[in-house]
Symmetry: D3
Subunit: 326 residues, 6 copies
């Protein structure tokens, strides 16, 4: 649950919040739904008015909620204060250790039914930080999907504050286990260095990427590895280049530079563009441009969750900025 | 932290919330501040933007925050959906077990400094439900205040959902310990029966009250016991009668009937009216009318926290409804 | 599409509107979904951002949109200004003659697939006013459902302004055709007199009802006929009594008196309560009380669409008004 | 300028205000415009963005602004906090002594042009409290209108806080001078006693009215004297009876009882109903019912300014409360 | 009627809209009113609450509504979703074929009275797309104005979606007929090529303009032809250059580069600046700079309708950006 | 009291305002409070709901209100319309001559008590424009603080519109008297030239500054003189360089370029950064960078009042723009 202070006030100044329900899973599934796929969210929500609101919200995004179980007591949530220019946005987490999701018992029947209905399954590294029960369930589900011949996708997202003192060391084996199950991974050179402990003598991010990603692909037998490089410019625009490593080759998108309305969730938009391309067997060069354009559009929409349709992303891949569409 | 869906929507319908920081302690201290007292809140708030917002909010209410410590990770909070007519209001709690307050270490020096600066101290029964650490600290502080000759006030507020399976049995010894420290207690016949295990052969609430409150006052050596009886009328108005038992005698307010805007916190307004009267050595009959009028006014104000000044309460004790004050 | 001026302003005073997507079909299906049924809406929505918003809104209400086709150019809509006390609410329609729904070609395959998936189907008399194409499609669908042995429900709702000069005379044969297909009908004595041309010598609404409804049930071979009698009281409360005629017997609910927040859509809540009872083979006396309580609760919620769960309706059937549910 | 805290917050709680431009003159002229008359406002507004906003607001209400001069530095304004039930509304004035209106030089040419274009002119007693310049200009304008044979209307509105220590004594000669110019006056028995110094041995308001109003009509040669008696009921409804004394006879409206949304400006709606009846030579009994219904409707609309059309007032004169007008 | 989703949400995300009443005619007349002219709008609005709201809105903008007739059933409207950066704004039209304006009978007496009161009359090409009745009325009015010696202004605005399959071919004779009546026309090289079927061998917009506009001016005997060239820059600013062809000579404004808040209606602001200059016989070089500055300012204001006064436009013609005006 | 039209509407367009309580004193004290100092505001506020709201607002900002006296009738206020790009912001003052502050009698006992409790006192030149009483009191307080050995700070802020025809000539002696009492002054070369009548042959602002500030420091025996040079760039960013002259040497900050959300109050943020550095005996070069970063951050926050903590300012002194802080 995202509890957002209306723009550009702080919690101290304001007295109202906008709320929505998001997260990597929600964002990726919702985006794929907008591209014409049918998407399910496996989650656990409390059986109370907050859970009802979350279910309604997911359905509104087009997500199937058949595998959203009900139980436990509450939803992990965070407060978001939008920054402006030199003032960064701030995220304040509330406790998520005792949330419905983190205290759930994950049932094998449930997993089996879900796996039967899908082509591909997406996991997020942030979930690995939760607790042993969640981690075990996640791997069990990953193995079940793998066994059933479904495409397994893993995003190496990492939030330092969730791993406490153990840090990367604690996280590493879990990330590796998921990578071994994965066909498609989202990862950059920093993940390779910090989480996976890879080393490089290159100084520059681009060179590190070119050295380490192929190594990681080989080590974990990954079909596809993708991600973005982003920089923030002096005039408050961002620049983003997408990359995709597949079949022993790197594909890069054009560098896109654009104004930013809501930065949260743009990485998930990129991921969903890559997944869409892969599910459709599109050419890597088209896929990486599509994903970069999807990420760019996600920066222009309020909320974490990408809303662009396939047509809108294709249109944004064109060069000229359109004025009004009427 | 109260997260309130704007009137009269539900969490499922809305996408925005109003937030404020309240609770029995906040409400009682704030109301007393509006009557001209200087009031402190002893609490623990996280050292993050939410804690900053809470401090600012308390200060806005006129509360001194010198004894509001900073630490821990979050604030216990609840969602409030306002009912309308036949549809009741709904409160959904988030987890409070790991809140800054519930995980704090309460320092004796802190307590000593606070006790030195005050005339009276107010405790709320809801706090007793938290955990052993909080309970122990609460009693330690109560004993310190008692030893220093300060007036100890205890409100027998009880929330069943917070005591789990143990229920009244678990709660009883803690409530009794606090009552033994108390000079002034807020309690009704149901508290006497359910929490304290008293018995009565009377059927009717008013008769039960007249039988049990004097017994409780004697058993726990309470100087003053007070509370209200409330009923909800068919036309959405509420009726309320205040009582106060002191010096072996009952004093009752007139029954007040009034329209209700926000019901939460009205009991705290009543309590603060009684405390104000007692601190000023007002006559019990005046005090009980003042407190009832304060409770009535608290129903007319958005939010938990009473805002009426002493003058406004005195004015409301007059009979005629005024139109516009200009 | 409902375009509502925020309370209690007029179009002339305000500069903002709240929008939602509703109608008898939406309301009945959504309410049944909240009682645990799976509900579909057969409709046609434009393939533009308004249509996307409508789909998302329906899904949020829990409605399955598999049979919501896309095409045509716009959505019939109306402006709602909420009245207050002596000032009535005002509805201003925009043109609906050229809406996506009214210009659609209704495909038999589509109907066949839908009918196969359902137990019961609900039609609304307002739809009969649209045009010949819509009327023909509606009857075709009704006959298909009947032929497949599904329960057919027809609500005699009638809006004079939609029938123009032809009025009741024009409408009568269409209403009769639908009634002949129906198992369950919603109808009161006024519908019997005005639309169906029945006559009575009784003066009083209650007596007219007792005379005419059994005649109508017999004439059109209706299993169940239900409806409500409503009156508006001087203190802005409404009173409502539900009735249900089944198996040759009338069943009446208690008269309920309650405060009103949003009156639009309460009749649909009543209808959904009756349908729910019938689908579950509940006793008529329970069903009529359930439906009346559902109607009462629908008056307490913003928007046309009932939101109460089965549990909340059952709770509201209890007598005492609850204060806060926590 | 009315600066209103959104319902039902106080200045201390809120951080936003709604603003509008109103006053007895605005309200009366706007209401008459809605009845089909052409109405002008003689006023002075600063030549700055606030003045521009006021002009636009008046035009939006249908008022002609040809005689709204521009000059001076600011607009007299007040803050309004809406009360609820037992909590009265509060009005806090800002300084109006140096406002554009109060510091204006009122030009005879301007008055002459305005008088030439009108049938009737309305003055408000509140304006008499301003200062000697305003009082002199007001009388000059009244005499000009009288001399030109136009109907002069005077409302004995009186705000004690604006007259300071001098009070009624200071005010009396000015009110008398205006009454001597007037054809139609708005006045009740309290005005007669307090402002005009009349005496009565009756105890009861109704009897005092019956005794004093005919005396006042005779003393000041008033063609018509009108006003209302109002009471506030326990369930938050108000009751109102209109009266009109004309041709030696009293006419009373039915007593109307109704729910109240915004009480400010309802007296002006009553006055405009009377003026409309008089300008149309309607029968006094019809006029007084029309005016009372207009006042009732004005209580149901946000803001000071009545918005009902003649048709809506006539409709409200019918007995039954309508539900939805569609 | 413009129904605008609040910034920068989409119809799918939001649940509220802001509404206003605009269009080329409204924008041009309102802007001229702010420059000190008296402006009328010839239109037809329904005689219902929406029409009332529109009249009030036009009056608020300073527009005279004496020639705004009432009748028919509704107002053509559109939904506007504001884009952000790479995401374009979207306009979704509702049906306008049956609007009050498009179904009106335009009375010659009405036209005659209107023409008598004015110096100049402005027509918009978008109106030509409506239907034969509207087109005929428009030409009739144009001829009447011409015959009476009034300045006729025609804006070659063209919306492809309104002309259906017929497109430019269908439109051409109507545009030509209006151009033959016109003294002043707004047109660019694309209009000349696409609507009027002119040809050029130049590649570059600026060169095409320089070749075609003089030809068009000669062919249709236009006194003045004006318009803008606009480009959108990478950092979300826009650049705009105004041109005006008069007396055989081109006049260009400086190129202005500026941030954009609401792009809709800026072309109308430019047009009103040209018209103002022409009505005042200002020098073309001053007029074109004034018009460009007016267009720039219109981009900084919410809503379609320019609000700048003549003074504010003159100030904006100065070079330096001012900080705060106090 | 700041009455702000919500972004980016004008008073003519909008119907709502946000209000807050600010001013140079509020801003400087609040900012220092956020850096860990204890800050008092010496002011006079009316004893009415507006004054209560102001007190609550100041307390919310962390300001001690022990020396905020109550009395008089109202608060000086201004309306703020936010500009956008080429459209400047507009400030419209209401009358402040009769405000509580300007009509107060300033008591020596009050001053004495306040001076005893502080280390440093800040005066603002704008206050000098009020009236003789205020000026005399201000100097009396300055002398008392000086006599007690406290640091006296004077900001040469000057608003031409408040001095009327007298202008700089009238103001000069008062500014000089305050400068003679001051230890720290905020001043730039324009103040030196216009208010203090200094002359220079340099053309360029930077050179004028380098010539005149040392002269002023010497003439008035100022320990520290500080200020900023600001420019507005074409792309709506601002650039700012801070300077500080101390111990015979100039210290300049890096030039900072940043996007601007709310420009009002940024100068006060700079001043508070300098004061904080001086109170802590920080090095001038660190202090001037800190102050410039504080000013930059103040541009990113809604409202006049800086909200950044010391930690946030230090963080902003780092070079790279952070994205999200989580």
């Amino acid at each position: 649950m995202r509890l957002e202070v209306p723009r550009y006030a702080t919690l101290l100044q304001s007295s109202s919040l906008n709320y929505s329900f998001s997260g990597t899973g929600v964002n990726v599934v919702s985006a794929l739904t907008r591209y014409g796929h049918k998407g399910f969210l496996l989650t656990v929500l409390p059986d109370n008015p907050l859970g009802d609101a979350a279910i309604a919200y997911l359905r509104r995004l087009g997500i199937q909620t058949d595998y959203a179980a009900r139980g436990g007591r509450y939803i992990g949530s965070y407060f978001l204060e939008h920054g402006f220019g030199a003032r960064p946005s701030r995220v304040t987490y509330t406790d998520r250790w005792g949330s419905s999701f983190n205290t759930a018992e994950f049932d094998d029947e449930w997993f089996k039914a879900a796996v039967a209905e899908i082509d591909a399954i997406h996991f997020c590294g942030i979930t690995l930080a939760m607790n042993d029960g969640v981690r075990a369930a996640m791997k069990r589900l990953g193995r079940a999907a793998k066994a059933a011949g479904k495409t397994v996708i893993f995003d190496c997202n990492y939030r330092p504050s969730l791993w406490g003192d153990g840090g990367y060391e604690l996280a590493k084996p879990h990330y590796e286990e998921m990578l071994e199950l994965a066909d498609i991974a989202f990862m950059n050179e920093r993940d390779a260095i910090h989480i996976l402990g890879m080393t490089t003598s290159e100084q520059n991010r681009a060179d590190q990427l070119r050295e380490l990603i192929p190594q990681a692909a080989q080590r974990y037998k990954l079909n596809t590895v993708a991600g973005t490089h982003r920089s923030i410019n002096g005039d408050n625009t961002h620049s983003l280049t997408g990359y995709m490593y597949k079949g022993g080759e790197f594909h890069f998108s054009n560098q896109l530079t654009f104004a930013v309305y809501d930065r949260v969730g743009a990485g998930d938009a990129y991921a969903s563009g890559i997944i869409h391309g892969e599910l459709q067997n599109a050419s890597p060069s088209h896929t990486v441009e599509f994903a970069a354009a999807a990420a760019m559009l996600a920066h222009t929409v309020a909320g974490d969750t990408p809303l662009a349709t396939e047509g809108e992303v294709l249109e944004a891949m064109g060069k000229e900025i359109r004025d009004i569409s009427r």
